[in-house]
Every structure is written in structure tokens, then in C-alpha cells.
């Protein structure tokens, strides 16, 4: 058969060659990378033999005037002496606007500066840096660990985000990955990853609560498992509550006991927090710890700490109630409880969670590693190393998406906890006679007033033909993909004028910004930008060729005429030549041309799958 004679140039990988994929838990306090090696997922250690990479980045200058960037433990140790240049808990600032960031200002000792796009930048001795850039530095180190452990350049990564992350925060995370040169297979919700790590997907069915209390965020997710399909029934939580708040509560208590005022300098604050964190960790194994700060000496026991932490833990349990409610369930309906996040090591947390759900939670896997391990398993599946038909993760959007209407009110288009991907459309009309433009303001949140919701994007639809008020029909469509990223389009029906936007919050990164930052970072690393662009184009070409090759083998002969097959093969040959040629632009042109040639084929393959799915269904019905 002609199909089997397609030749492959040396540089195109064999379709069945094992791919290199990692799972990354980009955490507020700590980050990890894991990969499936010889069948089992495991966290990958760095040169210091620790699998945990503190999410800390220190910016300094070398004597020659070059930036000196340290990531991980070496950066964290600088926090006390050089707080302004040491970035900690940067995840809290991801995708946040300058206004949000100012509200954190009291908690984070950084000097913020406005940038042109309204994106907050942090002033360091090495110049201003954005939260996205800081996260990219952490991701680069993790990617490096992954590619060293797997023996080559990574083909893809699954990066986890809190289920509660909104669109802007997800977009910022994706931008950081791009900046770090990673191909993102999927942004995966952290709690879902944890359930996957525990292999709960091996069970027939059940309802699972994942309680995830990290350094800076709390998430509760209610998942349902039914014959290999993981469905997120609801999610809830708090993007600004975590173990760091435990530390702050304890630090506040120490400061009070030691008679310190509220006006403390940054180094003292940091020292207090370190002392508090150490006490919290000791109380996991000791009944009481001795404390001293300055001239003050005292002690804290478990009951004392419980009193300090209970109000914070109670907030997490309220979120649990709400999530159960959204899923139409009660605490008694939960079959399994999974604990995630270093803060669940605190005994008081375990006690309260166990009491609330009425069952002992799963806590066998290290709560710091569990998310990365689950992400690694999913990455292995998504990159195509395993065709695990029995594992599918269905996600929901955490917050409602809507539009601003007259009077500053929110019109919800997609309610929270809707399964994604999803697309929805709604019609609007004009307010004034002869109105020729319409402002579309996209917001996220549950409140009635736009001012209480989070603004995601604005754009304008222009060129509406003049009509009487209320006569125009403007269809606004929302589309959310499997990563939870939103695009919005608007069209006036009679004239067909349209406008659209992929939601890039005003404080997000434009493509040009990313290109510039890449250029800058490579200039420092003395890498050739053009070489990088070429390599990226080649990887994309390889992916395109490979997926088409597999598709042709599967059902090319059956779905394509001889001349169509010829055209596609010629397109593939042209792309192979371009691939080996070394001109990135030419490669992109050939990929686009080949995509056009094979579009009909893709559609027919999809239709064939549908037919298959339908047939499978009717057979099932006969069986019953």
C-alpha cells in the first residue's frame, strides 16, 4: 500500500519513539518537577539532592554589570539580608493588576513600579522584573532538571495551577512557560493532579474531596470518578489563604508577646516569619516549643497554636461547605479525602478536616510532591506515550464569566462550574438611535455589580450600521478551551461586522513583550535568538508531520482520494525540505500550507470517529 512507502528523513522522529514529558507543580512556596521513568512517576531532585525547589528568585548584579540571577535555596537564603531583591511567593502576583498588587503591598516587601501596560513590575537592583519573568526563571530551572533526567530536550510539560485560578492567572502561567521555552500540553488543576497521583482513577467510582492547603492558596475540589472519567463537580477556595498566613498569625502573636510595635522593618518581619514557620513545623512532632525573640522568652504549645490557626482553618471549611453545596452533595457523600500541600502537615488541619468529613484523609504520598507526581502521569498520557483510554479529566470553570450591561450590571454568560470546553452566545442590542459602536467589557465573578467583579478585557465593535435603538442584533460569543482560557467575539448580524479578542488582561503580556523578553534573556545567556526560533519551528514541523503521518496510517486510504493523498504527500515533502533547510519563516509557511491541505482530512477523521462512537453506542444499547 502506498501509505507505507512514505519516507522519513533522519531528523523526523519515529512516531513511536518515547517522548520526554514532565509534570510541574509551580507552587507559591515550593516548586517541583516529576516525570514518569521506567513506568513509575517520581519527583526529580536537583544538584542539592532535594526534589523541592524553593520558589525564590534573587536578582543581583555582577561586577561586570551583568545580571546575576539565583533561583531556589540560594535565593531563599538571601531573603533576610536582601528582601527587596529576593522574590518570594511570586505566584500570588501572577496575573494580577497593579491595584490588586497594592492590596498585598503590606504583606510583600517589594517596591512596585507601574509599567506601560498596567502590569506590575518589581524594582530590583538588576532592573524591573515582572511576576511572569520571575516564574519563568523558576520554570527554566525545573525544565533543566527534567531534560537532564530524561536525557534530552523536553517535548512537553503539564503545569498545575490552583483550581481557583482565574483566566488572567492561567494566562500569566502559560506566558511564563512560554518565556521559559516550554511546550505546555495542558494546565491541570492541582487537586485533580493529586487525585490522579493517588491512583484513585483505578477505582470503579467514587466521590473525592481534595483539600489542598499550600503556602499561599487554598483549594477544595469535589471530583467524581466514574469508569475512568474524572469529573470536577465543583471547586472553591481562596487565592489568598495558606500556610504563609499561619506563619503570619504566629509571627503576629510573637510580636505581640515580645512587645514589638506594628511598625517593623522588613528584616525584622522576615526574621519573625522564619521563627514562626520553624515553630509551626516543630509542633507537628513536639507538644510545645520554646521561643525567643530579642529579649523576650516564651513558649507555644499545640493548643495555643490551634487557637491562633482555628479562625483560618474555619475559613477553609466554609469553602468546603460551599463547594459541596455547588456539587449538590453533603459531607457524608464523600468517599475519599485527599490532602495536598505542605500546610496539611500541621496536625490541627488534619484533625479539623477529619472531623468535618468524618473520615481519615489520604496522606501517604508526600503532600508536597503529590501534585507534581499526578501532573507527570498526565503529561505522560498527553504527550502520547501511553494511550490510557481509561483516564480522562473533565474540568469546570471556577468563576462565572459575563459582560457589563447598562447601569454597570453583570450579565452572566457562562455560570461557574460549567464543564469546559464550552462556547455560549447571547444577543445584545444598541441603546441609542444611530449607535455605530459598542463597548464589550468582559468580567469574571459572581457579583451583580461589575465593580465587584474582576475585569478581564475590553474591546469595541465598530462599524455597526446606524439603526434605531434596539434594532441591531449583536451576537457575543464566549469560548473557553480545555485550559480554561477565554476568547470572546462579537458580531452584528445584518452587516456581519465583527470584532474578537483572546482574553489577554491589560496587565498580561503581549506577544511582542514575550519576544522582547526572550531576546533579552538570550542576550544575557549569549544564545542565538535565531537559532532558538528555528528550533521551535522545527519542533512544530515535526509535530505536524508526525500527527499527519499517524493519521494517514490510520485511515488515509479509506478517507482520501488518490489525488488528495498526492497533494498531502507533496505538502509533507515540502515541509520536510523546509525543516532541513534552516529558514524558520519558510517552515511556518509550509506548516500553514500543509494544514490547509489536510483540513478536509481532519474533518473527515473527526466525522469517522463520531460514526464509530455512535455505533458503539447502539451496540451497547442492544446489549442491555
Amino acid at each position: 500500500m502506498a501509505l507505507l512507502q512514505i519516507s522519513e528523513p533522519g531528523q523526523t522522529p519515529e512516531p513511536h519513539q518515547r517522548k520526554r514529558a514532565v509534570g510541574i507543580d509551580l507552587g507559591t512556596t515550593n516548586s517541583l518537577v516529576a516525570a514518569v521513568r521506567s513506568g513509575a512517576p517520581e519527583a526529580i531532585a536537583g544538584p542539592d539532592d532535594s526534589v523541592i525547589l524553593p520558589s525564590a528568585v534573587h536578582y543581583g548584579m555582577k561586577e561586570e554589570g551583568e545580571r546575576d540571577i539565583a533561583v531556589g535555596a540560594p535565593a531563599r537564603t538571601r531573603a533576610g539580608e536582601d528582601p527587596y531583591n529576593t522574590m518570594l511567593s511570586i505566584k500570588r502576583l501572577m496575573g494580577r493588576g497593579i491595584a490588586d498588587v497594592k492590596s498585598f503591598g503590606e504583606q510583600l516587601p517589594y517596591r512596585f513600579v507601574d509599567s506601560d501596560g498596567g502590569m506590575p513590575m518589581i524594582e530590583t537592583t538588576a532592573g524591573p522584573v515582572s511576576p511572569v519573568q520571575v516564574s519563568a526563571e523558576i520554570l527554566k530551572v525545573l525544565a533543566q532538571r527534567g531534560s537532564e533526567a530524561l536525557g534530552g530536550e523536553l517535548d512537553g510539560a503539564v503545569i498545575t495551577v490552583p483550581a481557583y485560578f482565574d483566566d488572567a492567572q492561567r494566562q500569566a502561567t502559560k506566558d511564563a512557560a512560554r518565556l521559559a521555552g516550554l511546550h505546555v500540553l495542558r494546565l491541570l488543576n492541582e487537586p485533580t493532579a493529586a487525585a490522579v497521583a493517588y491512583g484513585l482513577d483505578q477505582k470503579e467510582e467514587g466521590t473525592i474531596a481534595v483539600y489542598d492547603l499550600g503556602g499561599g492558596t487554598f483549594d477544595i475540589s469535589i471530583l467524581r470518578l466514574s469508569r475512568g472519567v474524572f469529573e470536577v463537580l465543583s471547586t472553591g477556595g481562596d487565592t489568598a489563604l495558606g500556610g504563609d498566613d499561619f506563619d503570619r498569625a504566629i509571627a503576629g502573636w510573637i510580636a505581640e508577646q515580645a512587645g514589638l510595635g506594628s511598625d517593623l522593618d522588613v528584616s525584622t518581619q522576615r526574621a519573625l516569619l522564619d521563627r514562626a514557620c520553624a515553630a509551626k513545623e516543630l509542633l507537628a512532632s513536639e507538644d510545645s516549643v520554646a521561643l525567643e525573640f530579642g529579649d523576650w522568652r516564651g513558649s507555644l504549645d499545640r493548643a495555643g497554636m490551634a487557637e491562633l490557626l482555628d479562625p483560618l482553618i474555619a475559613r477553609t471549611l466554609r469553602s468546603c461547605k460551599r463547594a459541596l453545596r455547588d456539587a449538590d452533595l453533603g459531607a457524608e457523600d464523600i468517599d475519599e479525602v485527599v490532602l495536598v500541600g505542605g500546610s496539611t502537615r500541621t496536625l490541627r488541619v488534619r484533625e479539623r478536616v477529619e472531623a468535618y468529613f468524618g473520615r481519615a484523609p489520604h496522606a501517604d504520598i508526600d503532600p508536597d510532591q503529590v501534585v507534581a507526581i499526578g501532573a507527570a502521569r498526565q503529561a505522560d498520557v498527553l504527550v502520547g506515550n501511553k494511550s490510557r483510554d481509561d483516564l480522562l479529566l473533565l474540568d469546570v470553570i471556577p468563576l462565572s464569566l459575563g459582560l457589563e450591561t447598562m447601569g454597570g450590571l453583570t450579565e452572566k454568560i457562562i455560570p461557574r462550574n460549567t464543564t469546559i470546553p464550552v462556547s455560549k452566545a447571547q444577543e445584545f442590542t444598541t441603546f441609542k438611535d444611530g449607535q455605530t459602536a459598542m463597548a464589550v467589557h468582559v468580567v469574571q465573578g459572581e457579583r451583580e455589580l461589575v465593580s465587584d467583579c474582576r475585569s478581564l478585557a475590553r474591546f469595541e465593535l465598530r462599524g455597526i450600521p446606524p439603526m434605531t435603538a434596539g434594532a441591531a442584533h449583536i451576537r457575543v460569543s464566549f469560548q473557553v478551551d480545555a485550559d480554561g482560557l477565554l476568547s470572546v467575539s462579537a458580531m452584528e448580524k445584518s452587516s456581519g461586522v465583527s470584532a474578537d479578542i483572546t482574553v489577554k488582561p491589560s496587565y498580561g503580556l503581549e506577544d511582542a513583550d514575550i519576544a522582547r523578553m526572550l531576546k533579552e534573556s538570550y542576550a544575557h545567556a549569549e544564545e542565538d535568538v535565531a537559532a532558538r526560533a528555528l528550533r521551535e519551528a522545527q519542533v512544530e514541523a515535526e509535530r505536524t508531520l508526525e500527527s499527519l503521518l499517524v493519521a494517514l496510517r490510520e485511515n488515509g486510504a479509506e478517507l482520501l482520494s488518490e489525488s488528495e493523498l498526492d497533494d498531502i504527500e507533496r505538502g509533507m515533502e515540502a515541509l520536510r525540505l523546509a525543516h532541513n533547510g534552516g529558514d524558520a519563516d519558510e517552515i511556518h509557511r509550509r506548516i500553514e500550507a500543509l494544514n490547509e491541505l489536510s483540513e478536509g482530512f481532519a474533518q473527515r477523521r473527526m466525522d469517522a470517529s463520531i460514526k464509530r462512537a455512535m455505533q458503539g453506542h447502539s451496540l451497547d444499547e442492544f446489549d442491555k
Binding site: K19, G156, L185, R186, S226, R227, G228, V229, E231, R318, K321, R322, R325, V381, L382, V383, G384, D389, L392, L393, L394, T418, T419, I420, P421, V422, S423, K424, Q479, D481, A482, R543, T544, S547, L548, A551, N595, S598, E599, A602, Q603, R605, M606, S609, I610, R612, A613, M614, G616, H617, S618, E621
Partner: protein, 174 residues
Amino acid sequence: MAQNQTHFEIFGLEPGFEVDRKALAERYRELQREFHPDKYASKSDREQLLAMQYAAQINEAHGTLRDPVRRAGYLLKLAGVEVSPERTTSDAEFLMQQMMLRERLEEVRGEADPAAALDELSDEVHGLFASEQKHFAAVFADGDLDAGKDSLLKLQFLGKLQKQVEELEEDLLD
């Protein structure tokens, strides 16, 4: 799954108000297993885009069929009856009953035992909602579209009220 397929066709279900929820849930998982974009993560961009469109269509169909009010509205739409959102029922007795129920909802917080008062109200609203659904199913099966339309308007009222009751229950929990 073509654009012109109805939600019922996508799920291989007989069009009608009564839906086998178990069959719906099973079929939903089967379809997602086939078309979820994750299944296409290493495929070409076009296939990824198509998969996303199909998966979104499946989710929309599932969301509509699962929700009794949306399902009723969809059935009427398929039968050529559009109900504008501004329309309201002209059944004076029903409207009066709604006003009373709403007043009671507003007064719950002031009751001596708000939780018990809300429980009672919640049971009543659930009962009314369920019986209106039965009514819709009966008149729709008889092909009485005018009665179906009126019933849908009532379902919308009751569905909204039930949601408000649930929201208050949640507030009282806190």
C-alpha cells in the same frame, strides 16, 4: 455530530421531557472520552480546534438536557415556539402564590428559627417545582404547545426561586 443535530440526537435519546439521567450521564462520558481536547493534545492544530468545538457542543447539549427548565425551553424551541425572556405568565393565581413565597423568603432571616423556616419553605418550593415539571411533561406529550409555553414560564419562576432558597441556605451556613 453535525451542527444540525439536536441535543437529543447527539445523546441518542428520544426527544421528550422525561430523560433517562443515567443514560445521559453514561453517554456524556462516552462522548467526552472520544472528543475531549486532551485526546488531541499531540495532534495537529486543526484537529485540536475541531475537538474543542465538538466537546463544547457536547457540553452545551449535556447542560441543556440535564437542567429541567432549559430542557423544557429547548423542547419548545425545537417545536417552533420561541419564548422571549421578558414574557411572563398571565395566571394571576400563580403570580399571587409566587409573591407570597418570595415574601416568606425575605422574612426567613427574621424568624425565631430561620433554618427551620427555610427548610419548610424549601420543601414547598421543591414540591411545586416537581409538580410543575410533571405538568409540563404531560401537556407537552399531548402536543399542547400553548399550555407548554405557560408551564415553561412557571418553571422559570420556580427554578429561580429554588436557586434563591439555596443561596439563602448557603448564607445561613456561614
